[in-house]
């Protein structure tokens, strides 16, 4: 499994186009934010103290969440390639179990996702610190890495399942491009969730990556939120958190961080099972 996983990883890293395109979703978000959306959002935040840093951090937390899915999608390209070029014949005629082959794909998707996501985190922190932010504490870094691990396994499972349904390179490319461009919307990264309609809010809340985004915001924005809202009523903080999708509200209850963790773990289990079952069926 590790043998094949490393092979898949190498194949991904050596195709520079795939690496670039798997980061495209991230670049789009950053580009849009810096060029268009950022100023508007900062104005909308009124006269909150330290609002620049707050909003920057808000977007960058979302960027990390998004990169977990776009990069692991890039790593899944090899699944389609193996199918299209009939490379699976080479594996199937060797004494390998199907679970090892599928495990290799999961391994490389998680490895690529974890690595690229961590790199994104480092890049994001550099950006924030250069723009006057504080260095994150060791505890924050540890928490972020933990969330990245959860986000990547969940995202990798989802894209693995999607890839198991695709039969051609063309289909895969279209889906990746679609995912790369839409992901910012369906996870509520471009715009604060509070500014969207009820229906769209639900779509965002149903999407597992959004939960990773919420967790990351909670962890990364904690200090800044405390500073910005000192001396203000609790309701004001809560309302801001809800508007910005730092917390999700379901009916009358606000989701605890544990809920997000459970969502990520559950989606991992569900999609991984479906993906593995789908790929393990023997050709008839």
């Amino acid at each position: 499994m590790i043998n094949l996983g490393m092979r898949n990883f190498r194949l991904y890293v050596r195709e520079k186009g795939a690496v670039f395109f798997s980061m495209l979703g991230v670049f789009i978000i950053i580009g849009l934010y810096i060029l268009f959306l950022g100023d508007g959002m900062k104005e909308g935040a009124g006269d909150l103290p330290g609002k620049e840093g707050l909003i920057d951090t808000w977007v960058m937390a979302g960027v990390i969440a998004v990169s977990s899915i776009t990069t692991s999608m890039g790593a899944c390209g090899v699944i389609i390639e193996d199918r299209v070029k009939k490379r699976y014949k080479d594996f199937m005629s060797a004494p390998l179990r199907r679970s090892q082959i599928v495990g290799g794909y999961v391994y490389s998707a998680c490895l690529v996702g974890g690595l690229m996501c961590t790199l994104t985190f480092i890049a994001v922190e550099i950006y924030l610190v250069v723009n006057g932010g504080a260095l994150p504490s060791v505890l924050t870094v540890a928490k972020v890495l933990g969330i990245i691990a959860l986000a990547v396994t969940s995202s990798a499972s989802i894209v693995l399942f999607i890839s198991s349904l695709l039969k051609t390179n063309g289909a895969f490319n279209n889906v990746s491009i679609l995912l790369g461009t839409l992901i910012g919307f369906i996870t509520g990264i471009y715009l604060p969730i509070g500014s969207l309609g009820e229906g769209v809010q639900w779509i965002i809340k149903c999407f597992p990556v959004s939960h990773a985004g919420a967790l990351l915001r909670q962890v990364l924005m904690e200090d800044q939120l405390n500073k910005a809202f000192t001396g203000m009523p609790v309701e004001a903080v809560d309302q801001f958190k809800e508007e910005m999708g730092i917390v999700f509200r379901f009916g009358d209850t606000t989701a605890e961080p544990e809920i997000h963790v459970v969502v990520l773990i559950l989606t991992t289990v569900i999609f991984l099972t479906m993906g593995v079952l789908n790929m393990s069926r023997k050709e008839k």
């Binding site: 080479d90 060797a94 050709e283």
Partner: protein, 308 residues
Amino acid sequence: MDKIIEVKNLHKHYGAVKAVRGMDFYVERGKLFAFLGPNGAGKSTTIDMICTLLKPDEGEVIIDGFYLGQEDDRIRAVIGAVFQESILDDRLSVRENLMVRARFYSKDHRGIRAAIEKVIKVAELTEFIDRPYGKLSGGQRRRADIARALINTPKILFLDEPTTGLDPQTRKSVWDMIARLQKEMKMTVFLTTHYMEEAAKADYVIIVDHGQVATKGTPYELREAYSTDLIKIKPMETMRGRLIEYLGEQGLESVERERVFQIAIRSSQRAIELLMASREWIESFEVIHGTMDDVFLNIIGKEQKEND
């Protein structure tokens, strides 16, 4: 007789298309075995089934004593396969490709290293061993594919049209390599081809058509049974009439072109009789032994006519 592959009543349908319908044959250990047939005759489907890639609808296959469908992993350990498609990774070097594949079969690092060194030598890969597979020429790729198939020192080597699409010189070198492997490593080689001259070099040939065995035998037997010898006789100018007269008496049909008579003869024995009888009148002659092309065209062509 030591049968390393035994196939009984093999069937495979793709929907309504019956790709293989009742294939029966066996392969002797250590022989070079050719599976010959037109495109779409069911050659690749049969190989895919024997290589455990496709599940047969019906029938029994025993490979080196293991039953297909029950002991697939044991079968996979003793076979090596070269498929029609190039199936190594373009962006990995030949060595990396071989390394990844060698680990499918063994965990022993030293053994893996030794196996790779061995196949590099056998398949003559030294020159391009560290180049990406995707940048190799067709012939180099094929050699790398064959090296891949040999990485687990298989008892049986399957080659599905190994020389298709290669230039004549490369084709010959690949073919020589296969023949050498079979002799030196005492390997059973099972290959499909649609090149007659390749099939003619095999120890045993099976001709398949429409998913069934059309005929089988050694190339010599097949030529004897399905092809005709051709005698070309050029009589001395004055004796032309005598020859025509004699051929008429014997009821032999001939075609004359620039005083060269072409006569189709069923057996070599008859050829000798004819030459003996006409030895006084002959200026020059030539006997052309039947070729695999004739065999193939006779069998496949006849069936196609019947079907039309």
